[in-house]
């Protein structure tokens, strides 16, 4: 037996052709699954664009809702959404990042911490309407904030906090421990190590995760139906204590209108909302990509 290549057949029935066919079939199956998701997104975007783009005029952005289609615009809803996002960011980012730093850098590895961790993961899956009811009881009624921007932002902050914490934790965990050891070995305290090395290294990940969480808040409707409840706001929100509406609510209100013309207004609002969310997601991707260099 000097031939290094084993003779075909013998005790093996290799069925190479069938195995290769199975491989090809599986690859196409996966390709189909990927294409399905992309196709659904493309069709959705195309439909939105087709219905909504012609609604986009300067007036659409500057006018208030109206009983007359040609005079209706999204100004208060857009301002409300921007206000809300800024407030949610101001509340959820410091708290979320702080909680993530605690869980990753300070918390003892014991049963209580594990319980806490499990709870946070579970909270991320709680239906948003539940947060709306909580916000109504806690912020609108108990804290006496009324149906204000602040109450809405506080509610949405609670909603996105688990997402912010979990993504910030992942970013902090990705900082190599050799970096921490280097700082500690030079006499840095834990705070100095976190401040000078862990947080700067984790910041791009924390930011991109937070932006993705905020884009979730931007599109959230259900809890705000409970908190704000208004779709016909004819003034600009000027302070966090003002009543407000947001784009998803405005869109919801227009689609619920029996008059078909108002559905076109909704399509225009959807274009604006989708653009905001896509821009935020793109920003998150860019930050992530830039930090890899």
């Amino acid at each position: 037996m000097t031939d290094p290549v084993a003779p075909r057949g013998g005790r093996f029935d290799t069925r190479l052709a069938a195995r290769r066919r199975a491989g090809v079939a599986f690859r196409w199956l996966c390709r189909g699954a990927a294409a399905f998701g992309v196709a659904a997104l493309v069709i959705l975007l195309a439909k939105i664009a087709a219905d909504g783009f012609r609604m986009l005029s300067p007036d659409f952005f500057t006018q208030y809702p109206s009983r007359l289609v040609e005079r209706a615009g999204i100004r208060p809803a857009l301002l409300g959404s921007l206000w809300l996002l800024a407030l949610v960011a101001a509340m959820s980012l410091p708290v979320g990042t702080g909680a993530a730093v605690y869980l990753e850098e300070y918390a003892p590895r014991n049963r209580f911490t594990r319980l806490l961790q499990m709870n946070i993961a579970n909270l991320a899956g709680v239906p948003s309407i539940v947060y709306g009811i909580l916000g109504l009881a806690l912020f609108v009624r108990f804290a006496g904030l009324g149906r204000s921007l602040l109450a809405g932002a506080a509610t949405l902050s609670l909603l996105v906090l688990p997402l912010v914490i979990i993504s910030a934790q992942a970013a902090i965990r990705a900082v190599p421990s050799s970096r921490r050891e280097a700082a500690f070995a030079l006499g840095a305290t834990r705070w100095q190590t976190i401040r000078h090395h862990v947080l700067p290294a984790a910041m791009p990940g924390i930011l991109s995760g937070s932006i993705l969480s905020l884009s979730r808040a931007a599109g959230e409707t259900a809890p705000l139906i409970i908190i704000a409840g208004l779709t016909f706001v004819t003034f600009d929100p000027a302070s966090p204590l003002d009543p407000f509406t947001v784009l998803p609510l405005q869109i919801f209100g227009w689609t619920a209108d029996p008059r078909a013309e108002f559905h076109d207004l909704a399509a225009g609002g959807i274009v604006v909302l989708t653009a905001i969310v896509l821009l935020m997601n793109a920003a998150a991707l860019l930050i992530r990509k830039a930090s890899r260099k």
Binding site: A182, L186, A188
Partner: protein, 247 residues
């Protein structure tokens, strides 16, 4: 004896890593810890600057004495210990910052009062790195070669004027030429510093150290003058290890 251990034991979770180790480390000499992988030599080293504190599951028994003071005693500040007892790691771990800032960080956080620029230069000269990087202090430390990165880490440790330098296999991630430069550097540094080196390379221990401790399965088997330990080992396990029959 600048450093000493007294019946020192370390347990990670439920696993004893080292036990009942009593030894003294002489100042201004190079002491080497040798032994097979998992013998506890790195764990022992990390007791001297309380690096084991960073492992939540580590428990220490016995004493570690620095100038006769228990490092694990009441009121001892680990950050202060780590400034006075520096450490260099197996893999070069420069910060993703400039050469200058890598060294300046330790100076700043420890409240260095003199000119930081001068001290950066002194440290780089002490680590035999100034001639190579003195003209590019502002470039990213990660662009240096691995050997240069490791000498930068040594410079960074020296900058904050430690008395002791702990080195955990400082050359094991380096090529032979870079390794030789580190070994030469250790030879120079021992005039001013007490150096403790962990190495799995027996030839290296023989070349650079004056005293050698051989550890096996968490136990201090033999501790003697390097020359004596390598030419006339007193324990058969030491002999088995240095002749390559145990490892």
């Amino acid at each position: 004896m600048i450093l000493a251990t007294e019946r020192l034991g370390v347990v990670y979770g439920d696993t004893p890593v080292i036990s009942d180790i009593t030894l003294g480390i002489a100042a201004q000499r190079v002491t080497a810890f040798i032994g097979p992988s998992g013998c506890g030599k790195s764990t022992l080293l990390r007791c001297f600057n309380r690096m084991n504190d960073l492992r939540p599951d580590a428990r220490i028994s016995g004493q570690v004495l620095f100038h006769g003071q228990d490092l694990y005693g009441e009121g001892v500040e680990p950050a202060d210990i780590r400034r006075r007892i520096g450490m260099v790691f197996q893999k070069p771990n420069p910060f993703p910052k400039s050469v200058f800032d890598n060294i300046a960080f330790g100076l700043r956080i420890n409240g260095f009062r003199d000119d930081i620029g001068d001290r950066v230069e002194e440290s780089l000269r002490a680590a035999a790195l100034w001639d190579e990087v003195g003209h590019r202090l502002r470039s990213d430390a990660r662009r240096l070669s691995r050997g240069q990165q490791q000498r930068l880490c040594i410079a960074r440790a020296l900058a904050i004027e430690p008395e002791v330098l702990l080195m955990d296999e400082p050359a094991s991630a380096l090529d032979p030429i870079a390794t030789r430069r580190i070994e030469e550097l250790i030879g120079e540094l021992k005039q001013n510093y007490t150096i403790v080196v962990v190495t799995h390379n027996m030839q290296q221990a023989a070349r650079i150290s004056q005293t050698t401790a051989f550890l096996h399965m968490g136990e201090l088997v033999e501790y003697n003058d390097t020359e004596r330990l390598f030419t006339n080992p007193g324990d058969e396990r030491t002999e088995a290890y240095i002749t390559g029959r145990l490892g």
